[in-house]
Each structure stands twice: as C-alpha cells, then as structure tokens.
Amino acid sequence: MIIQHTLMTCHKGVDLHAATAERVMRRRLDGGERLTGLARAEIHTYWQHEGVAAPESVERLLTVGRYFNPNKHHFAHFVLHGAGEPWTAAPARGGPLPGRWPGEVADTDLPADGGDVLDRLLGGPPTDGTLVVDACAFPLGEAAAVLSGVLWRLMLAPETPEPAAVAAHLVEAKSAREGLLVNPHMQGWLASPARVLRA
C-alpha cells in the first residue's frame, strides 16, 4: 500500500502571495469578479510504500526548522493511506485530487478544538454558501523524493455557475485576462470538486 505524507504550512498572518494573487485575479482576470477569497498553503509531499523507510531527507523535513517558524506559520502533517501513485507519475491539468486527500492529521500546531484541520489551516471554512475549489499545483518532471508545491483554495460566490470551469479559468495562466496560478507548461495541477464547506 502506498502512503502519502503531506506537510502543509500556512501563514498565520496575511499571506502576501495569496493576497496579491487574489487582488490581481479580481482586478485583471475575466471571471475574477466571482472570486470572493483565496487562501494558500505550501505543501511538501512524498509517497512511501508501507514498510519501506523514508529517505533521510524526508525525515529531516519534519525536524529542521525551515518550515516551522512559529512567528510565521501554522503547520499540519497529514497521512493518507492508500494514496495511489505519486502525482508526478501521471500529471494532469485540472484532474481530480485523490479522494480523502490530504488524509488523517498526524501532527499540527493548531489547537485541538475540533473542526477540520485543513479548513482551519487555510483560515477557516467560509460560510454563507461560498463555493470552494482546492487546486494543488506542483512542478512537472520533479524527480526529488519530496514534491513541493502549493495548495490554492479558491472561494467563489455562491451563485457561481459551473464553478469548476470558472476555477479552472482562474487557475491556468493562458493570457493577460485568463488564469494566474499555474503555468501549465511547467506545472501540473489537481483539483477538488466544487463544494460548500460546513463549519
């Protein structure tokens, strides 16, 4: 069985990358008016066959301080059993994220006061019917043990028609007015279905 570990870090304060991207998407992209919010987490993920030790570089990922500045980040370490093949094996443009991804929480600095850790990491679940699409972007052709990428959470107005298509339009950079978050010539990306989250 393949196990996918994902270390996810999020800014405690304002994430300038997300804030800038949100502003640019709203102001400059067709369909940007549908975007009500954008959150971001950096992800560092690797796949491990059960019973096989992870490389030392992976072990150190969780012990060296680079990703854990408590001034700056919250973090969560997720484990997904039965994850399937690594994303790099069959990169897709907008294909579906694995079911149950990112999996169970193995460790986090977030207080254990209930609620979905992924949602809390990304600033809390939006209310009032906002539609959410998660899109994971990662580099194509990466050969390192750890795959580093970005999870973008797009929040769309509740009445948005065909939200998955709108999200795809906003994600994949094609022209000045179309897409920002992923350059498909160097990045693959996987997305969740559009859904409404419950607090």
Partner: protein, 1087 residues
C-alpha cells in the same frame, strides 16, 4: 483582545530575588534580579512591564556591550586621518577619494546573526543580511557589496546531516535575501569545525558608498531646537516577530528550547526592503534638495523604543512617542510588543513637521507601500522634545517616562579573567613520512572541507548586480568594485579569521586575522584603509572565555597598529565598526573556537590594474614574499592528520607583514604583477594549486618551483604546508628586475620561487634533488568536488562545478561603436522588486539612448510616448505566485503589448524576460498567449540560484532583429533561480527553433541542450527568445553586466576574456564598451 499586561507595574522592591527572577522569566525577560533592581534604582520607582522589557533589550549583551566595551576601548585604535565616521553610529565611514569634485566615503558595517541562524538557518541568515544592509542605508549610502564569514559544525559523522542542513540553509537564506534585495556578494569565508557543532557562526559584512556631504546621522538634528521635528516610522507593520531577539542572541543556546527560540527569529522580506530602499533614496534626495536635515536610523534590536530613544538621545533631545499611532499587524499586539518587537524592514526618521506630509506621501502613495504589503506604510508616531524625557505612551496611558539618558545609558560589567596558561615549550620537529607520499597528501589536502573550492556555495550568490563588480568571489583573494561610474577608483574587501589558531592562541588569532585580511586586499592592489571586527566567543562570565576574548581583541589592536595605514604616515589601521557576539555556547557547555573575524577594506587607486589570482602565462616568474619556517602548529595540514614540523605557533612578525603588504600594493599599482595570491590555509601547497586551477575558463597552466636557499633547512612538508603567511607573485620576465628592486627597497623577505610552465602539473624540487610532481587534474578533481560532494543535493557531483566543454569562438572581440545622432527615449520599467534598473539605464545611456526609469505607479498610458522599452532584472512583485507572473498582469504590460503591436523594440532581461514570457510577448505565436514557461533551474546536484559567466551563441535562422550585425557569440553573466525555458512538450521548442523564435542558446551545451554547458536545464539550451516580428528579445543573461570591459572576467575562455587580459591598465579600454553593450545598442538602433 485579552487584557494587556504591558502597563502593569512589577513590584521589584517587594519581591525577593527568586520571586523576581521567576516573574521576569514568566514574561520571557532575561534580566537578572540585580539588573531589575538597578532599573528600579534608575527610575526611582517600580518599573512597568514595558519598561522592564525595554531594559531587557537595551541591557542585553547584544545592545549594551556590557561585558566587552571596556576591552574594546582599551585595545582598539578607532581614529585616523581617513576616518569620516568612527564606531559611534550604525556603521563606520572612511575616505574613498574624490571624483569630479565629490568626496566619497566607504561605509562598512559588520554584524553577527549566530543564534538565529542556528535555530532558523534560512531566516536567521536572511535577517542577518537584512539587518546589516540597513546599517549602511541609514548612513545615507548605497550598499555596494556584502560578504559572509561562516562557521559551521563538522558535517560528517553522527549528527552531521543536521549540521549540513544548517550550512545549506544558511546559504539559502543569504542568497534569497541578498539577491532579491539587489546587493552584490563580494566574498566571505567558510570553515567547518566541531567546535561549531552546536553554534554556527553567521557573520555578515556590508559595504556602502556615500558622498561625504550626503551622510545622514542617527540623531535628531540640532535644528529640532528651532522647529518641531516629527518621528516617523516606515515599513512593515509591527508584529510579534523577533520579540526578545536581542536577549535571545545574548544567551547561551539551549537546544531543548529550540522551538521557543524560533519565536525570537525575525521574519525577513527583501522585497519590501528593496522598495523601501528606493523610496528612502527619494526622501533623502528631496530633503537635500530642500536643505532639510533629517535623522535616520534603522530598527533592529529593541524596535520602536530603541530607535526613538537613541535618535533623540544622540541629538540631545527627549521624545514623546505614542504607540497607538504605530501600524501593527492584527489587533492583538500588546503595547510592550509594539514598543520592543524586532519586526524587520522598518526605519525611523526625524523630520521637520513641515516636511512630514511630503515624506508620508512618498512612501504611501508614490511607492504605494500599503498596496504592496498588507499593513505596511509610513506614519508619524511622535515628536522630538527638548525636555530630555523619554515618554512612551499608548494613547493617554503612559508606559515609560524617564530621563532619556536613563534608557540609553547602558550597563557595564567588569568580568573576571583567568590568567593565561603558561606557554608550552616548543616541541621538537616531528619525524615525517617518506616524501614519496607528498603528492597524494597534496591531492587529499585540496579536497579537505576547509581547503576545497567554495564555488558550489558562492555560485548561489549574485556577485554582479549593480554592474560595478571588477573581481568576483573565487577570482582573487578580495572582491573589488568600482562603485563610481566612470572612475577607476575602487574598493577591495576581504574577510578573515582562523578558528584553528583561535583554539591555540586567541591573541595570535586576532593578529593573524588582521594581517591576512590586509594581505588579501593587498593582492588586488587595495591599500588597507580600515577594518571591522566581529568577535565571536562563548560565555563571558567564564573567566577563561573572557580571557580569550581580551587576548583576541589585544591581538586585533596590536595588528592594526602594526599593519598601519602605510600610505598615511604610519597611522594605525582604524577599527571603524564592529560587533561582539558572546554566549556562543551550548547549554551542554560546548564553546565555539575563539573567533575574531576581521573584514578589511582597501582603497584601490586603479581598478584596471586589478588581476585575478590565476596563473597567466608560461614563462612568467614566480616569487615568494614572506618565507616559511618550521613552526607548523594550527595548520590545516596538521588538522588533516599530517605530521611534520614543530607543533607550535610563532608570533607573527608585524613589521615584516607591514613591509610585505606595502610592497605588494606598490607592485600592483605599478602594473608589475600578473597574479598575486596570499599564502594562508594549507600553505604554499594550497596557494600554488589555487593559482593554477583558479576559476574555470582558460586552459590550465602549471608551475615548477624550487625551494629557495633561504628555506633549505626546511623539509618539503614544512615548505609546502607551513602557514607562516605571505604571498606568491607572478611576474613577467621583463619586469623581474624592477620587481626585485622594489621588494628589496621595501625591506620585505622574498625569494625567487620558480616559473609558470605550459604543463598540467605542479613540480617542487629542493637542493637535495628531491622532487614532488602532482598532476593538476588530480588536484582539480579533489579541490572542485571536496565540498560539492558533501553539499550537493542527492549526493551527486555538480556538473556545473567541473570543467566545462570549451567554447570555440572564432571571432575577435570588437567593441561596439556608439555613433551620435538622435537619442531615442527608452523606458526602463521599474516594477516593485526589480533591482537592476539603475545599471540598465546607465548602460542604455552609454549605448546612445535617453533612458528614463518608469515607476509602476505612473499611468500606463504614458508609456506610449517612448520609443523603446527595457524590462530589467530583479524580483518583480517578489515573484509572488511565480516569477514574472504578477507583473505580467500589470497594466504596464498591456501597454507593452500595444507597443509590440506597433513594432517598437522591447528588451527583457532576466526577471524582465520572465515577465515577457508570462505576458505572452514571446514567443508570440499568438500575441498575449502564455506559450512557454521559465521554470526553476534543474541541474543535477544543485537547486536554486545560480550565477556565472556563460557564452551565448546566436541561434541560426533566428528572426530576432536584435541579432542583426552582432557577433555570433556573446559572453555575459547569468544570475537566476528560474531560468529554465521549458514546455510540457519538449518538441514545441524544436518548432520554435524551426520558426526562428529562439534567439540565443548556451554555447557550451550540446546541440540537444544536454551536458554541463547548460546551466539551468533549458530545452535546447535556450537562453533567449524572440517573437515573430523580431522586435522583442527576452533573455535570461544580463548584457548590462557586460557593458564595460572591466566587468569581463579576465580568465574567461573567449576573445573578450583575452581582450580584458591584454588591456590591463588601459583605462580607456577597460572603462570602454564590453560585449553586452552591443545588445543595448541594438535596442537603441531599433527605436
């Protein structure tokens, strides 16, 4: 918001010592009970928690020098006829010279960020750079270089992986910050030693330049007695980051508290720093234009409270500061955190109230800080007062009210000092192994972690941004810049400090650090002008450690008086700034090797005479200046396990060192040296090998060396591995008589050493007929891969660190001729975070244009009035989301799409190239469509930023109109982390080539793009791209950094490298056009 305890009064008088300490620690304060009682005594009442927090910072070792100040005053010379500002402000300033009637000063500052880098290597090292450059900027200057002396734990064996991570990540922090800010990295040094296992040392040096009449001071000016002066805070919103940082840096490092300590490490932001730097420049320019005197100081330790109190007190004023006016991140920042947090990227200004509105407009509107960074802005937070009271309040609630001198007066301790242990009698000379083993030993020595090439590290740094670099890391013993455009005056700078000597004899460590740093700058013709010191030691409360500290400082002082400013009548070399870092000691008691680290700056009279250390020509003669002896203690060779000589250190001969340094300076200035290299770590063996191998490029030359008669009592090992110190000089045969006469006149100890030969071997012979021959390829493999194989990712050798295939260039280096005529108006786009606009504009002007830097806050429609466009390098919008992605959506790029449609020429360089790709200006099969990508570099064994010179080759059949009339090959530097032209379907690039849309490729790469000549993994080794009309050129390399001949490395394997060598000393040629100017000239011609 929860209740804010900042206003609480702490009952110091009522608590016994134990209870008091417990109360202090509960608030993460490190003051001792006696110090807290001293605070109470000074205030005449129990202090508030905010006051205790303030004193906790101000009385930390880091801020107050409470253990070290008397020692520094006792031993160090700090004055001199060339000193403009001594060690009384954030940085020292010494005379640089006068150019066109303007007197310039060189600013130098030196700091440590040891503790933060141990617990958060990336951010600790980054904020080290961030802090030290602020010290230069707040003197009113521009940063012209940074250097990084680094000390890491031993990376092999148990626990080595963690120490290796620290080393890698410190380097990452340095390049991520320095490169983004746009400051060239001019050098540094790196040692690995077990004494640094628990405490790495990350020292940082910043060099700046300022016209003497533009110097700003960290003081409220006297004019504040005549009119009201406001205190302005500009930069990041204040948050918790770095809270308690100064106190943390002044305490023993406890690995068990690593997680808590990470909270004391600041959060860096070079992007915001870059924008602030440009905005500060505008504020200071406007102030000068109006004749307004301002006070200017950066925020470091102690944050708002420190900057306001020190600004006011330095001018003889008090001040009234309202923390409620300070911009903060979030609404849960307690008042004491607002007062004392070390949030990065902030400055404090004292300006006349009548000027305040204009200052705020520059920051908040012209440079749009609030748009670029959530919460960042400039605000008025207080006023200078004449009552001498430091009043800190939050609205109406007072947190601190005391005579200002009480706050800033500091504290001092007379530490106990253990007597020095009696010196051991010099041991007998060791019995050596057979000489037949020396060749193999030599090869192994070159691969020792403390001797091996540092290229894998320094290729991560950008050495050439600003376009003024003459000698880069790896090329010579010192970095050299020519910071005033059009002038041959230069600054040489180097750092030194040897932990092996520190462990043996701290006094000698201080002495030798000064001498070797001065030797380094002398090798390139820099006359030592000043030094700074960073004194890294353990716990000063330990009498033995404090003795080490005092001995080292005594050594630094003696050496400064011994080396002297020889061009100025024997004055001591002044120590104009510095830093003391104590408590570099783990909770387990392990103390770092006593590490006095010295940075020396030298004045270079003529940069066109500066030479690389590499051997130049067969037949040249070699000389040894400074003769070795049999005292071989604390040498690298002994450290590596070799047995030879006497295991002792002999005192350095300061008079001899002074004579040798003076002589070498004279020889360089007379144009008599082909190369010079100092003999230091690894002795003559390493020195000769480094001269033979040098930076990659031309074919290797060897040498045949004979043990001079004066050294005939020495064994070959003592001769080769001894570290008595000195120089090896390469001299053309016709110049030998003049050189020998000059050396003799200087009274230097010297001897003929041998000859440069056209053979790939080093040969050493003695009078007894013994001979050592070692092949250069064996030395090279060991030297180039010694460190790389440890540091490189995935344990793969780094192909970029090996010799590369030769570039066959069959065309002469013909400088572009700039003809007169109409000077087209070209816009140099300044998007926030770009950092190459100044040198790009300068090069464009030289190419015949009227360049104008076009700030992003101007209306985009105004771009239509220009004839052509240059999008320069840097990190636009911090490369948020992806390099160039956000800038590509900027309205200015829509204007460029329109200009492209009108056929106007557009040149994008590096980040500008990334922007043009993301905006769909290239390849432009469908204008405005994103058709390719510039992805992170991907070559085996290396990630991240990569800088080096490359040779470009024009792609046959290219439509690019920029290439018309240009030579087929073009040598230029690259400096990028995301320069890999790519597409999900590699065949797409074959199509682009067929359609003539590729402009340049990396010439040394194989035709399919593979091999070590491809520096970033680009498909088809693509370096530059054009559009169907050929009016757009998007190139990753930097032609503006090759616009003048002096910028070209003289060891470059290209006709332009040969031209640079052949015209050494020819001022007109060296300050004349370089290869890159032709590209800029084509932009002008296409307008």
């Amino acid at each position: 918001m929860t209740r804010d305890p900042s206003f609480d009064v702490v009952a110091v008088a009522a608590l016994d010592d134990a209870a008091l300490v417990k109360a202090l620690r509960a608030h993460a304060l490190t003051l001792s009970a006696s110090e807290a009682r001293r605070v109470r005594e000074l205030l005449g009442r129990d202090p508030t928690l905010t006051e205790l927090t303030l004193f906790d910072t101000m009385w930390s070792e880091h801020c107050s020098y409470k253990s070290s100040r008397p020692t520094l005053k006792e031993f160090l010379p700090t004055t001199g006829s060339n000193v403009i500002v001594g060690p009384v402000e954030d940085a020292g300033i010494v005379d640089f010279g006068t150019v066109d009637g303007v007197r310039w000063g060189v600013i130098i500052a030196h700091e440590s960020h040891n503790h933060p880098s141990q617990v958060m290597p990336v951010e600790g090292a980054a904020t080290g750079i961030g802090g030290i450059v602020r010290d230069v900027y707040c003197m009113g200057g521009e940063v012209i270089g940074v250097l990084d002396p680094l000390r890491f734990g031993w990376p092999l064996g148990e626990g080595g992986a963690h120490r290796l991570d620290i080393a890698r990540e410190v380097v990452t922090g340095i390049w991520e910050y320095g490169n983004a800010l746009g400051v060239p990295n001019l050098g540094g040094d790196v040692y690995f030693h077990p004494s640094f296992d628990d405490n790495c040392l990350v020292n940082v040096v910043a060099l700046g330049l300022v016209p003497a009449d533009h110097i700003t001071h960290s003081a409220v000016p006297p004019q504040a007695r005549e009119e009201t002066y406001d205190l302005i805070l500009v930069g990041k919103p204040t948050d918790w980051s770095g809270m308690g940082g100064a106190a943390f840096a002044s305490a023993t490092l406890d690995a068990d508290a690593a997680m808590e300590n990470k909270g004391s490490v600041q959060v860096p932001d070079p992007f915001l720093k870059r924008v602030l730097t440009v905005a500060n420049r505008e504020v200071l320019r406007l102030a000068r234009e109006r004749g307004i005197v301002v006070g200017f100081k950066d925020l470091g330790a102690g944050g708002v409270s420190c900057v306001t109190s020190e600004l006011a007190d330095a001018g003889g004023f008090g001040c009234d500061v309202d923390l409620a006016l300070v911009h903060v991140a979030g609404d849960d920042v307690p008042a004491r955190v607002i007062a004392c947090s070390e949030t990065q990227e902030r400055y404090g200004l004292a300006v006349p109230a009548r000027f305040t509105a204009e200052v705020l407009k520059i920051y908040n509107e012209d440079f749009a800080l609030p748009d670029l960074y959530e919460g960042a802005c400039a605000r008025r937070i207080g006023t200078a007062t004449t009552d001498g009271i430091y009043r800190l309040r939050h609205g109406d609630r007072v947190l601190c009210e005391a005579p200002i001198a009480t706050v800033t007066c500091g504290i001092a301790y007379a530490r106990a000092e253990a007597p020095a242990p009696p010196p051991e009698p010099a041991p007998a000379r060791a019995a050596e192994a057979p000489d037949s083993l020396i060749a193999d030993e030599w090869v192994r020595l070159m691969g020792h972690l403390n001797a091996a090439s540092r290229e894998h590290l320094f290729r991560h740094y950008d050495p050439e941004v600003r376009g003024a670099t003459v000698l880069r890391p790896g090329e010579a013993d010192a970095g050299v810049v020519a910071p005033v455009p059009g002038s041959v005056l230069g600054v040489a700078v180097s750092v030194d400090g040897n932990p092996l000597i520190g462990l043996r004899d701290p006094y000698q460590a201080g002495v030798r650090a000064v001498i070797e740093a001065a030797r380094n700058v002398a090798c390139v013709g820099g006359r030592p002008a000043a030094v700074t010191d960073c004194l890294n030691f353990g716990n000063p409360e330990d009498p033995e450690v404090f003795h080490q500290f005092r001995e080292a400082v005594r050594g630094v002082g003696d050496a400064c008086r011994g080396v002297t400013l020889h061009a100025r009548g024997g004055e001591p070399l002044p120590v104009v700034s510095g830093n003391v870092s104590l408590y570099n000691q783990s909770a387990a008691g392990r103390t770092v090797a006593p590490s006095p680290i010295i940075a020396c700056v030298g004045n270079v009279a003529d940069v066109t005479l500066c030479r690389s250390q590499r051997l130049k020509a067969a037949g040249d003669r070699l000389y040894l200046v400074g003769l070795p002896d049999d005292a071989c203690g604390a040498t690298l060779a002994r450290e590596s396990g070799l047995v030879f000589g006497r295991d002792t250190l002999v005192p350095a001969d300061l008079d001899a060192a002074r004579r040798e340094i003076a002589a070498v300076c004279d020889l360089v200035e007379a144009g008599l040296l082909q190369a010079a290299h100092d003999v230091s770590d690894g002795g003559l063996a390493v020195c000769l090998a480094e001269m033979a191998l040098g930076p990659r490029g031309r074919d290797l030359l060897g040498a045949v060396v004979a043990v001079p008669p004066a050294c005939r009592g020495l064994s070959l090992r003592e001769f080769l591995y001894g570290e008595r110190g000195g120089f090896v000089l390469e001299v053309r045969e016709p110049d030998t008589a003049r050189v020998e006469a000059l050396l003799a006149a200087a009274g230097a100890a010297w001897a003929p050493l041998g000859e440069v030969v056209d053979s790939e071997a080093l040969t050493v012979r003695d009078a007894a007929g013994r001979e050592v021959v070692v092949a250069l390829d064996e030395l090279e493999l060991s030297w180039r891969e010694g460190l790389t194989r440890v540091l490189a990712a995935r344990d793969l050798p780094d192909p970029a660190d090996r010799r590369e295939p030769a570039v066959v260039a069959d065309e002469p280096a013909v400088p572009v001729v700039v003809v007169g005529g109409a000077r087209p108006r070209i816009a140099v786009l300044q998007l926030p975070g770009m950092n190459c606009e100044d040198e790009s504009a300068r090069a464009l002007a030289a190419a015949g244009a009227r360049p104008e830097i076009f700030r992003w806050t101007r209306p985009a429609a105004e771009l239509a009035d220009f004839d052509g466009y240059l999008v320069p390098g840097g990190f636009s919008y911090q490369d948020r989301v992806r390099a160039g992605a956000v800038a590509a959506k900027d309205p200015l790029l829509e204007a460029l799409l329109a200009a492209d449609a009108a056929g106007k020429p557009i040149l994008g360089i590096c980040n500008g190239c990334q922007v043009l790709v993301e905006a769909g200006l290239v390849p432009g099969l469908a204008r405005g469509r994103v058709e390719v990508a510039l992805a992170p570099n991907r070559i085996p064994g290396r990630r991240g930023y990569f800088s080096r010179w490359v040779v470009l080759e024009a792609v046959a059949g290219s439509r690019c109109r920029f290439l018309d009339g240009l030579p087929r090959t073009l040598p230029v530097p690259i400096a990028h982390a995301e320069g890999r032209f790519t597409h999900e379907d590699p065949a797409f690039f074959t199509r682009l080539r067929a359609e003539g849309l590729l402009a340049y490729r990396y010439a040394a790469a194989q035709p399919d793009g593979g091999g070590p000549g491809n520096p970033n993994g680009s498909l088809l080794a693509t370096a530059a791209m054009t559009n169907p009309a050929g009016n757009v050129l998007a190139m990753m390399p930097h032609p503006e950094r090759a616009a003048w001949l002096f910028q070209v490395p003289e060891d470059l394997d290209h006709p332009w490298g040969r031209r640079r060598r052949d015209l050494i000393g020819d001022r007109g040629a060296q300050l004349g056009p370089g290869p890159g100017l032709a590209v800029l000239r084509r932009l002008v011609e296409l307008c």
